[in-house]
């Protein structure tokens, strides 16, 4: 009954470095784009129609690009590099001009998190110079909003996720730390709401579904740990998912909340049902660690793609569980 293993519908190659981060931009008109940040410091903008790199932005003077994203409202690209800069780029009309850059001072691998509060304003959370410190600033004004430093010793910030609650509370921030702890912060109060030790090893990645108030985090061990937020904003640990091989670099939940993808150090992308966390598929193509996964934001759900970027310098694109008949 098991279906044959799926194959990527396409692979993008020529990035010239490990693919640390991927970001789709397919909601608008053509062309649909995929942004990738490479270990060699370049951001490739892939046109998904021609399946070629439309443009390559040498963003961080050769330092590894750790995170890229775009703003919904404008044609602005944000990238974070290991040269301790976060840069904003204007992509209007085929340009790629540097608009702003923010110095973070962080030497870690923690990816930024972006929250658009209004069409013109957005919050950016990033790991700061002190290893356990998180800074949040408002852009484009660059006004600092707050600095969040845990009192307990939890080690370096590994991953963060900023989101806005429906309950009228200000933006909240989830952060994973080196000692395996997860902390929930209230940004407006600048106070820690709850803390839990989700992993014995550093939290490598986390993702959170604000609609279900449920999240999942991965570490360098064989276990994914899922958790929920209760009404008092306490993190409640839930089921674990045990993997075959240890190490997850990134987790991503599809917009429709049906499936979860993990980027494994074992060169594989694994697909889980987000509801039950049942493993659904193993996507095997890459020949080195998978570093990033992303789901596209196509308006037509049938066109939705999954992209996986690997250390083998390739990006694979997959079309999976798109027909609505998937069991996820």
């Amino acid at each position: 009954m098991s279906l044959p293993a799926p194959h990527p519908i396409y692979t993008l190659r020529g990035a010239g470095g490990a693919l640390n981060t991927l970001h789709f931009r397919c909601h608008g008109e053509d062309p649909h784009l995929l942004f990738s940040g490479s270990g060699k410091g370049s951001i490739h903008i892939w046109n998904l129609n021609s399946r070629r790199a439309e443009k390559v932005v040498e963003a961080h003077s050769g330092s590894s690009v750790t995170w890229v994203s775009t703003l919904q409202s404008t044609d602005t690209l944000i990238s974070q590099g290991r040269d301790m800069q976060v840069c904003l780029w204007d992509l209007n009309e085929g340009r790629s001009e540097l608009l702003e850059s923010v110095w973070t001072g962080s030497v870690g691998f923690c990816q930024c998190s972006l929250l658009e509060t209004s069409p013109t304003n957005y919050l950016l959370a990033f790991a700061a110079q002190q290893t356990e410190e998180i800074k949040i600033i408002e852009l484009p004004s660059k006004n600092p909003v707050c600095t969040l430093t845990p009192k307990a010793k939890v080690g370096m910030v590994m991953c963060i996720k900023l989101w806005k609650t429906n309950s009228g509370l200000g933006p909240l921030l989830l952060a994973g730390y080196e000692d395996g702890s997860l902390l929930l912060w209230d940004v407006t109060q600048r106070a820690k709401l709850s803390q839990v030790r989700a992993h014995p090893e550093p939290v490598m990645c986390l993702t959170f579904d604000p609609r279900r108030l449920r999240g999942i985090s991965g570490s360098s061990e064989k276990k994914l740990s899922s958790w929920t937020l209760d009404s008092q904003n306490n993190i409640q640990l839930q089921d674990d998912v045990t993997l075959v091989n240890p190490g997850v670099s990134q987790l991503c939940i599809r917009e429709d909340g049906r499936i979860l993808a993990s980027a494994g150090w074992d060169d594989r992308v694994r697909i889980f049902s987000w509801k039950t966390l049942r493993p659904l598929a193993v996507l095997q193509y890459h020949t080195d660690m998978v570093l990033s996964v992303a789901f596209s934001d196509h308006q037509d759900p049938r066109q939705r793609l999954l992209a996986a970027g690997s250390k083998d310098q390739r990006i694979s694109l997959w079309s999976i569980y798109n027909d609505g008949a998937g069991k996820g």
Binding site: H7, Y10, T11, R13, N49, R51, R52, Y285, T287, R314
Partner: protein, 1041 residues
């Protein structure tokens, strides 16, 4: 006032007036009767018709009573009666007709009108018209019997004269109206008798006698007086149209009745009867076309729109009724029609639209019947006839022009036409050669060498039903015209349906689709003004439509089931029954042709879309390349052609550019397909083709895929190693081409050249002196300075080392790839399959060649592959030994003395012993021996041994052994080439150590005696001196020279 309805009452009422009129024929009496008649009901009047007519006719008959007023009154009364009643008796009709004509004509000449008042003439004409309308269906046609010809002729000429010469417009019009009635072309609102086809035919025959007169006179009327008013002109055109339409009607002419000979009873009258035989039709049509030309030139620009409208009607009527018989006039008529398209009067234009439809109906009807009979015609008639029929077929499409799409909307038409094309285009697929011809990759290299001027030879398609190339090109033009005018979506869908429907239609449907798309893009289309609607220019399909159609066609062509066809018989089942073989052959043959047509199709799509095809390369280029790597010659060449076309259409300057620009698409597919090799076994082939056609700029991408290839190979050593070996071979060949090694080879050969050409004694002595000095320690200080320079270099190396072990691998990627490949070769060299081993040896040789650039990489590799290579050299099939020896030579060339000890210890003894063993065999063998493997092996060893010895710098003992083994081959009994090869060995040996070998040779055979230059020196005594001349002498002498 109510009418009298009872016949009896009516009779009683009319009687007195009738009696009175008979007695006293006066105007007053006639008028009284006329008044009374109006009170009688039609039905009663019909019963009393004969009775009433009698007195009136009586008046006309009596000559002395003929006063104009009276006759006019009688005519009016008669008209009234005739308009109200029917004439049922032939006699009445006949008599009245002649009486009226008599009244109209002059007493002297029945063909000329009498000099009467206009009122009287119009009254009489009205009466005549009423009579013709009143005649019953069963008697009216008696009027047209041959016996009536004279009377009828007189009437016709009378009417024509009236119509032409008369001053009064009313009379003219009335006369022409009468003529219209006579030729059954009346356009009034009354009911008319509808003739059966037989009756119509007989009327036509009769009127044929008068056609020349009518046509000429009427055309004079039409073209005559411009001021006569449009009403007359319109009537005249109607008469012309009606008479020509009646006499020249295709339906009549095709039936046999048209040219029945008149019966003998007629006597002289029989001479008047015209037989409408084909010759008559032809000459008449010629005359008519002259008249028509005049008419059209006069009317097409007429000021009154009714006249122009009438012309359109005429053209329409004649085109519908007489398009066959008036073939000469069709052009004129069409012109008249087409001219109306842009008429300023909307009514004329509207009429045209209606007519266009009618015309289209006619043409499409013809088209349909032609399409129906086409397959039969194609089977039975000769090429000349076929060509004509197809041209007619094409002509219909061209004439229909944009209406083609309307015609094709009818399912019946589309079905017929497509089926006809399917049957006509059936291919003949029994040629065995097509299956057997194999490409061996030469074409690949050939094309890569001279891109642009290259055009692969494509054999012609053989069709079942015709051989003439012209027929094929007309057929293709038909397809293009279809695409040009037709609805591309409909056509694509329909023909793709046919394509899917049955294997029988598949090839034809694909051919049609290919040309259709080209036509839809307006390619190779003579955009003619032949079509009906000449207003529209350019193809009907937009670029966007075309793209959609192209994508669907391409997807169908390249889908797995339609693309991965079997074109070669599996080698394993070679021993089958003959019959099976032939069946199988035509099956394979059919597949091959299908692939070729589909490949051509992709090229056609590219041509149709031009640069817009570039995005489609994403999916289409890979399949084409897949076929370019195919072994079957025909497919292979079709694919190459297709590639050329595509690269041209997409605006690439060469194949190389095409492949380089799209290598990312190709490599993506290759890499994906390598992972599912069982479903896509051709993936390695595509890579082979790519490598053959591209250049080193591809290397960064290639490197990525080579990893995939090697991994796939590692995973499937058993199944697809052979396939992969060919890829590796292509890869290494490409690398060798892209990165030619210049250093070691040319240097080596140049050195040997100078030394062989002229052995310089002085240089030798100088060298010797230098060696001696060195040995004695002279000039050692020079070496010291050299030594001093070394340390800084090593410091630099240390500095590099500091950068860390990761940075150390700065090897160029082609060398990295080569190393990886060589590694696989080492594994594969011990494969049990001989063919595979041979292939691997070739790959290994290339690896050695490429790696020879870097000794640091080459030597470890040589070390690793030595054990297996030794196995090949010493304990393998002779074929493998041969190849392995070649590898050894290359290896020796590249590594020099690195292999000296191994060769001398492990390989040389075997080689020399085998040479020694074989020498007597080859010396005694006949001429056939040169075709044996043993001979080839001997030859190869002898050819390579010399340079090998030289490069490896072998020791004296080894050289002696070599010399020992080779000496027998200097015998003139050996095959010539062996002798030559052996001589080369000695030449090399002599270079290594001239003195020793001079001595050795002279010991054996000394051709001349040496006298010492000074008598004090002892005489030279060599053991070879003074020997008799024997089999070795010549070659020894040659060596020593």
């Amino acid at each position: 006032m109510s009418q009298i309805n009872d016949p009896k009452v009516a009779f009683a009422y009319l009687r007195p007036a009738c009696v009175l009129l008979t007695k006293e024929p006066t105007v007053a009496n006639v008028e009284t009767l006329g008044e009374q008649l109006k009170e009688i009901h039609d039905a009663s009047l019909q019963q009393l018709q004969e009775y009433v007519l009698f007195p009136l006719r009586f008046v006309l008959k009596v000559p002395q009573l003929k006063k104009e007023k009276l006759v006019q009154a009688v005519a009016e009364a008669l008209s009234y009666v005739l308009e109200k009643t029917c004439v049922q008796s032939w006699d009445t009709l006949h008599d009245l007709f002649s009486e009226l004509c008599l009244c109209l004509c002059s007493p002297t000449d029945p063909g000329k009108p009498a000099d009467l008042s206009e009122e009287l003439k119009s009254a009489l004409l009205r009466c005549l018209d009423a009579l013709l309308h009143a005649a019953y269906g069963d008697i009216v046609f008696k009027l047209y019997e041959p016996i009536m010809l004279p009377g009828l002729g007189a009437a016709v000429s009378l009417l024509l004269a009236l119509g032409e010469k008369e001053k009064s417009r009313e009379v003219q019009a009335a006369a022409l109206r009468c003529l219209q009635s006579l030729i059954l072309h009346c356009d009034c609102t009354q009911e008319h008798v509808i003739p059966s086809s037989d009756e119509r035919c007989s009327v036509g025959s009769t009127m044929a006698s008068f056609l020349p007169g009518i046509a000429m006179a009427v055309s004079r009327i039409i073209t005559g007086n411009l001021r006569q008013g449009h009403a007359v002109t319109v009537r005249a055109i109607k008469v012309w149209c009606g008479s020509v339409g009646l006499v020249m009607e295709d339906a009549q002419l095709q039936s046999s009745k048209a040219c029945e000979t008149p019966s003998q009873e007629l006597g002289r009258i029989g001479q008047l009867v015209v037989q409408r035989a084909p010759e008559w039709v032809k000459s008449t049509a010629g005359k008519l076309s002259v008249l028509l030309k005049k008419i059209i030139s006069c009317t097409s620009a007429h000021r009154h729109w009714r006249v122009r409208l009438e012309m359109v009607e005429l053209a329409d009527h004649l085109l519908v009724a007489c398009s066959q018989s008036l073939r000469e006039c069709v052009g004129l008529l069409l012109e008249a029609l087409v001219g109306a398209v842009n008429d300023e009067e909307p009514k004329v234009r509207e009429r045209f639209v209606v007519i266009e439809k009618i015309l289209a109906d006619v043409l499409s009807e013809n088209l349909h019947s032609l399409a129906t009979s086409l397959p039969r015609l194609m089977r039975t008639s000769n090429d000349q006839k076929k060509l004509f029929v197809l041209k007619v077929f094409l002509g219909y499409f061209k004439v229909l022009g944009p209406l083609v799409s309307v015609v094709l909307n009818s399912a019946a038409h589309l079905e017929r036409i497509s089926k006809a094309l399917m049957q006509v285009l059936e291919l003949d697929v029994v040629d065995v050669r097509i299956v057997e011809e194999r490409s061996h990759g030469e074409s690949l290299e050939r094309s890569s060498g001279s891109v642009g001027s290259y055009a692969a030879h494509i054999p012609q398609k053989h069709f079942l039903y015709f051989t003439d190339e012209k027929i094929f090109s007309v057929l293709m033009e038909i397809c293009r015209t279809l695409g040009f005018y037709g609805n591309i979506y409909l056509l694509t869908d329909h023909f793709l349906d046919l394509y899917r429907q049955s294997l029988v239609y598949r090839k034809q449907a694909a051919m049609v689709l290919n040309e259709m798309v080209r036509g839809a893009a307006g390619l190779a289309m003579a955009t003619g003004a032949q079509c009906l609607d000449s207003g529209v220019q350019g193809p009907s399909a937009s670029q966007e439509d075309l793209k959609v159609a192209a994508v669907s066609i391409m997807e169908e062509y390249t889908s797995l089931t339609n693309w991965n066809l079997i074109t070669t018989c599996e080698e394993t089942d070679g021993d089958r029954q003959d019959q099976q073989v032939t069946e199988n052959t035509s099956f394979l043959n059919s597949n091959i042709w299908q692939l070729c047509i589909q490949l051509e199709g992709l090229a056609c799509l590219a041509q149709a879309l031009g640069r817009d095809f570039r995005p489609l390369l994403m999916t289409s280029l890979y399949p084409v390349l897949e076929k370019a790597g195919e072994e079957t010659l025909l497919v292979n060449q079709a694919a190459l052609n297709s590639m050329m076309c595509i690269s041209q259409a997409c605006g690439y300057s060469s194949l190389k550019e095409l492949i380089n620009d799209n290598s990312d698409y190709l490599l993506n597919d290759i890499s994906l397909n390598l992972q599912r090799l069982s479903q896509h076994p051709q993936a390695p082939r595509v890579l082979t083709v790519m490598l053959a056609h591209s250049d080193s700029s591809l290397l960064p991408l290639i490197r990525d895929v080579v990893q995939d290839v090697l991994m796939a190979l590692d995973l499937s050593y058993n199944h697809s190693a052979a396939l992969f070996c060919s890829v590796l071979h292509a890869l290494m060949k490409a690398l060798a081409r892209w990165f030619p090694v210049s250093r070691c080879r040319t240097g080596g050969s140049a050195r040997s050249k100078t030394s062989t050409d002229d052995f310089n004694c002085r240089q030798f002595l100088l060298d010797y002196q230098k060696q001696k000095d060195l040995a004695e320690g002279v000039g050692i200080e020079v070496d010291d300075t050299e030594d001093l320079e070394v340390p800084p270099a090593s410091e630099g190396e240390d500095a590099e080392d500091i950068c860390g072990p990761d940075e150390k691998s700065e090897l160029p990627s082609h060398l990295i790839i080569t190393k990886e490949v060589a590694e696989r070769c080492v594994h594969l060299l011990s494969d049990p399959r001989l063919q595979l081993r041979l292939k691997v040896l070739e790959v290994l040789e290339l690896c050695v060649y490429v790696l020879s650039e870097r000794e640091n990489e080459l030597l470890p590799m040589a070390h690793r592959c030595w054990p297996v290579l030794r196995q090949r050299l010493t304990a393998d099939d002779p074929l493998a030994v041969l190849r392995a020896f070649r590898v050894l030579c290359t290896l020796g060339e590249a590594c020099g003395d690195f292999l000296r000890r191994r060769v001398s210890k492990e390989v040389l003894p075997r080689l020399t012993s085998s040479l020694t063993r074989q020498a007597p065999v080859s010396a005694k063998a006949g001429p056939v021996y040169t075709h044996t493997l043993a001979y080839k092996l001997q030859l190869a060893v002898l050819q390579g041994l010399g340079s090998l010895c030289q490069r490896l710098d072998l020791g004296e003992a080894d050289l002696d052994a070599v010399c020992e083994a080779c000496l027998p081959y200097l015998s003139c009994r050996q095959p010539v080439r062996l002798q030559e090869a052996c001589l080369s060995v000695f030449q090399h040996l002599i270079q290594v150590d001239p003195d020793t070998f001079w001595f050795t040779l002279n010991e054996l055979h000394c051709p001349c005696s040496y006298t010492p230059p000074h008598p004090d020196l002892p005489p030279i005594q060599l053991s070879g001196m003074g020997r008799p001349r024997d089999e070795y002498s010549d070659n020894f002498y040659f060596c020593l020279q």
